[in-house]
């Protein structure tokens, strides 16, 4: 679930993200400050919380409906903007809908197909990326690309697309997960 929440400021990856996630989840489940208009205990909770408690056989149709109800409740309680994580419910849906292995939070079948397509392209005979000089250049360009993404103004919604050589370095760097996170 943590992976589903975009925009979490994460200088201390485990602890800060955990705390931020707690704030977000407690807000969307309890909406602190929401005026009680229904009999307790439902009145204390958001629609999503009540649905999660009751639904033994949840479906995404019902969950999506609950997201809409909860969004309206959060808007009334002036909490929607404070979440400040883009379209949070949409992110949850992307991270869960159709995902068969709950600990992975992405569709690894689709992702693997995309990665395989990339791998076949980068390993093509005419690619020429194997030369040490080419890889050294790719490493520098990868670093510059990261710096460019960091500098990119937040209001600029256009995401930058890496080139093949930059992507190769990026994916390789990710394989050393601990070093990559730091």
């Amino acid at each position: 679930m943590k992976g589903a929440v975009p925009g979490i400021y994460d200088p201390d990856p485990e602890e800060t993200a955990r705390v931020d996630l707690q704030v977000i989840l407690q807000t969307i489940l309890e909406a602190p400050g929401l005026k009680v208009t229904q009999p307790k205990p439902q009145g204390r909770y958001t629609h999503l919380r009540v649905y999660a408690d009751k639904a033994q056989h949840p479906t995404w149709t019902d969950i999506t409906q609950s997201f809409e109800e909860t969004t309206a409740e959060l808007r009334v309680a002036r909490l929607l903007r404070m979440l400040s994580c883009g379209n949070l419910f949409n992110s949850f849906q992307i991270a869960y809908l159709g995902i068969l292995w709950k600990d992975l939070s992405i569709d690894l079948v689709a992702a693997s197909l995309r990665q395989r397509e990339f791998a076949s392209k980068i390993t093509g005979e005419n690619c020429g990326i194997d030369a040490p000089s080419a890889l050294l250049s790719a490493t520098t360009r990868y670093h510059n690309f990261l710096l460019l993404m960091k500098r990119k103004p937040k209001e600029n919604k256009v995401s930058l697309v890496p080139t093949l050589d930059i992507d190769l370095c990026w994916h390789t760097h990710q394989l050393d997960a601990v070093s990559y996170r730091q």
Partner: protein
């Protein structure tokens, strides 16, 4: 939801060791296979028993899944399980609790279970008074 520990152990993809196997024309790492078989006896370590470049054939495995409705680990034929993901009408049934599920209901249940796991956690809830205005 809070599955700490995996990354905290410093787990890293052994790229150099994998490269070493390929460079030395070794199909499978014996120590890893031994560890895999000790931990997961029902599933073979390799999808190809021999190097596919040398003619080894792909041997797909059935799916072992913990039913989120009853926590029973059941095995499902790969083709049936795949159909729950690729078609809207197909479903699988847990052999223990007889619950039918497909990708939609399974993932919806996962989301609901993660929310409940958070709700039921006794520690770590924050005071949100500063949120209320």
């Amino acid at each position: 939801m809070n599955r700490l520990g995996l990354w905290a152990t410093g787990v890293a993809f052994p790229l150099e060791r994998l490269y070493s196997l390929i460079a030395n024309d070794i199909w499978s790492d014996a120590a890893s296979e031994q560890a895999w078989m000790g931990d997961s006896k029902s599933a073979p370590y390799q999808l190809w028993y021999t190097d596919p470049a040398a003619g080894g054939e792909l041997q797909l495995q059935d799916i072992a899944l913990t039913c989120p409705w009853c926590d029973h680990v059941d095995h499902f034929p790969l083709t049936d399980f795949t159909a729950t993901h690729t078609t809207k009408s197909a479903s699988c049934q847990c052999g223990n609790c007889r619950q039918n599920f497909n990708a939609d209901t399974l993932s919806a249940r996962s989301f609901r279970d993660d929310l409940l796991e958070f709700i039921q956690a006794q520690n770590g809830w924050l005071t949100l008074n500063y949120f209320i205005h």
